[in-house]
Symmetry: C2
């Protein structure tokens, strides 16, 4: 497959990708878009110019502030539409000869402002990397029994805050809150001293289910439109003090950053693989067939003016112990209902080696082994004016499909 | 104050109340409403007939599926509108003489179908009754140190599921999930055997704040439109197995029921009182001035065909250790942003006496002391076909302001 739009060999946004997002253009118009190489394509213009006439879409659903309405059409519509876009971008297509539409619909990426791709009605965060859960258990609980008894029987998860999910590039103020200093008997108030990232991937659902209805592992992927990179910012000192007995709260809800491009499950299909063996055997409702893990390379960088970009973590989505189909089956087995645009994040994705840990907590082993940056400075946790960048991509047989990046800069705590 | 609309002395919906809700009428139209006695009043008709002309409301914001747009106008508008409605309902008012408008706008409560009053973007559940937290700590942790170290320093809370919040009257299927039977080494799957209610009150916010912005205790009540009764259904056996380390998840998110009438903070103003003394002293950002607790009588009933209605709990919102202003100040002190329609529930409201405990878990002391119903049957937890009803009201100096009820029937688990 060759597109008439040129792009670099290593572009995440190859002809095999065709992700979806929402952009504000130079003229302040907003619309749903796709991307190939550095070219962002306004799908609302393609619609207006008749390129989706074969579909019964009603009004122009790409003239929207979010992808929610589009993805709510379900895979029977969104999959052929993605294929249609792919076809239009090939050499020799109608669109390749339609310079008027190209002029109207095509924008360079640096001329648009990417927005949060979906409105997020509900956000859940899982805890599905066995390496991450083991590392945290070793540090905070019992090194000999690092995993809690429930961990291998169900994909542990909890509800997070939807309102504070922001798109890549949105700066985050260092949060303030209560922490209990070592050996103190009463907490103190102030900016967190242990600000962390968590390297995660989140999936987005495309349907409303009824309260009381369950989604099986076999049905689950029909409900998943696509994936984004997800940085679950965390304040470790606040978390440690607040989290018993009801879980993380203010340590997490000051902000979570997501990448602007939703990569569809179909684009990721060539990169499926087996997950880790699950032992003991899971209960029936968590059993599944087929390859449900995905080989997505993940990297995390700390960047600032003095030190430039520093690669601090190389991980992979394939390490997930619990896959997305199991997560969704578990989430709904009690009848909990799904909504269009919901985000379900994986939890921190760590691998087995020390350089594959997906948080500063693990990389510096709770601050005991600082990382060195290129300018000689050390990091136990994230400092003010640091930018954390996460990148993710798949590559196989010369095909590359990627997410681009999610980045977020930490600003000093507000006065 | 006397209304031209007659109502019983003990009506929750007196001229002093003027709550807000959303109703579907006999002709399938939907609109924002208020209520006095048994009369539901379509505010969209009052608007159309010129009764709110003094306000600069733009389009008819009462012609809506939710109260969100109305409450987003803020107290500077919603408070005078409530006062205007109250004035219109008095003897001798313009409306009392306008039979045409009455005919168009007035409905009997049994002819309308009450809806969820707001769209809920975010839902948080606190854990702010010291008696409840102490009871749970005694049962599940250490009777000598029932409260965890953080409890008196901050209003513990966690995020819940917004999608499964339903209006009073919506039946709930008994959820299925994993539980660990006593002395078993592996979990089993099936319907919960320990289905419980939690007697709570929730407040609803009326504003969007910016990410990074905090709301002080002094400012908090400006952001609170009003309150509803809230039943936080819980599956105790599922909760016990799943909740470490990230908090309750499937044990809660299969459904939460709310009363349809939002009682404004202004209507509750005469019922303010001091809360319990907070010792040790709280951190500065949690300090507050004035009376921030409210004297709201609360009752819970179990009802079914055989046993009729059985009063099983008599509690009061005044017992709350942490007040709503402190909850909101805590929630936002890290910069977490609010949205219009957010629900913030109190957590189970228990008093000191055994008949004031706000859950079956506490009332039957984890099933060890079953309750007897009128037909001689016993209840350790909630059984299929039981309806749980919660009522709440304030009464003082001959004025009564109430919530009506939130009820929900438990249906058998789905096959």
């Amino acid at each position: 497959m060759k597109s008439f739009i040129p792009y670099e060999d290593h572009s995440d946004f190859s002809i095999h990708n065709i992700p979806f997002g929402v952009a504000i253009f130079a003229d302040d118009e907003i619309g749903c878009v796709t991307r190939i190489g550095s070219t962002v394509i306004n799908l609302a213009v393609l619609y207006d110019n008749g390129y989706f006439e074969a579909f019964d879409l009603g009004e122009n659903i790409f003239e929207a502030f979010t992808l929610n309405e589009f993805i709510s059409l379900g895979k029977s519509v969104t999959v052929p539409i993605r294929e249609r876009i792919q076809e239009l971008l090939l050499e020799g297509s109608e669109l390749s000869k339609d310079e008027a539409t190209q002029k109207e619909a095509f924008h360079l990426i640096h001329n648009v402002s990417m927005q949060l791709p979906v409105h997020v009605p509900n956000y859940t965060d899982f805890y599905s990397s066995i390496e991450h859960a083991t590392n945290v258990g070793k540090m905070f609980r019992d090194p000999e029994n690092a995993l809690l008894p429930n961990w291998k029987h169900l994909p542990v998860g909890y509800h997070g805050r939807a309102s504070s999910i922001v798109v890549s590039g949105t700066p985050i103020h260092r949060p303030k809150g209560q922490t209990l200093p070592p050996d103190a008997s009463a907490p103190v108030f102030g900016p967190t001293k242990r600000l962390d990232f968590e390297l995660e991937v989140a999936f987005i659902t495309n349907s409303y289910t009824d309260l009381g209805e369950s989604v099986s592992t076999a049905e689950a992927e029909e409900h998943i439109f696509g994936l984004v990179l997800f940085n679950d910012w965390s304040a470790r000192d606040m978390q440690k003090w607040e989290y018993v007995p009801l879980g993380p709260f203010l340590a997490k809800n000051f902000g979570s950053s997501v990448s602007p491009w939703v990569v569809t499950l179909e684009a990721l299909d060539p990169f499926r693989m087996e997950g880790p063996k699950q032992e003991p055997e899971v209960l029936d409702y968590l059993k599944f067939e087929g390859k449900k893990n995905f080989d997505i390379n993940l990297q995390t960088f700390i960047a600032n003016d003095a030190a430039g970009e520093n690669l601090i973590c190389t991980s992979n989505f394939k390490y997930m112990y619990w896959n997305m189909a199991q997560q969704l089956a578990h989430h709904t087995v009690n009848g909990c209902n799904l909504e269009v645009g919901d985000m379900y994040a994986s939890g921190t994705i760590s691998g087995k080696t020390e350089d594959s840990f997906g948080s500063m907590l693990e990389l510096t082993w709770s601050g005991t082994k600082p990382l060195k940056l290129k300018d000689g400075s050390e990091r136990k946790f994230i400092e003010d004016h640091d930018t954390v960048i996460m990148r993710g991509w798949c590559e196989k047989d010369g095909k590359r499909v990627g997410f681009g990046e999610v980045s977020g800069k930490i600003l000093p705590a507000k006065a």
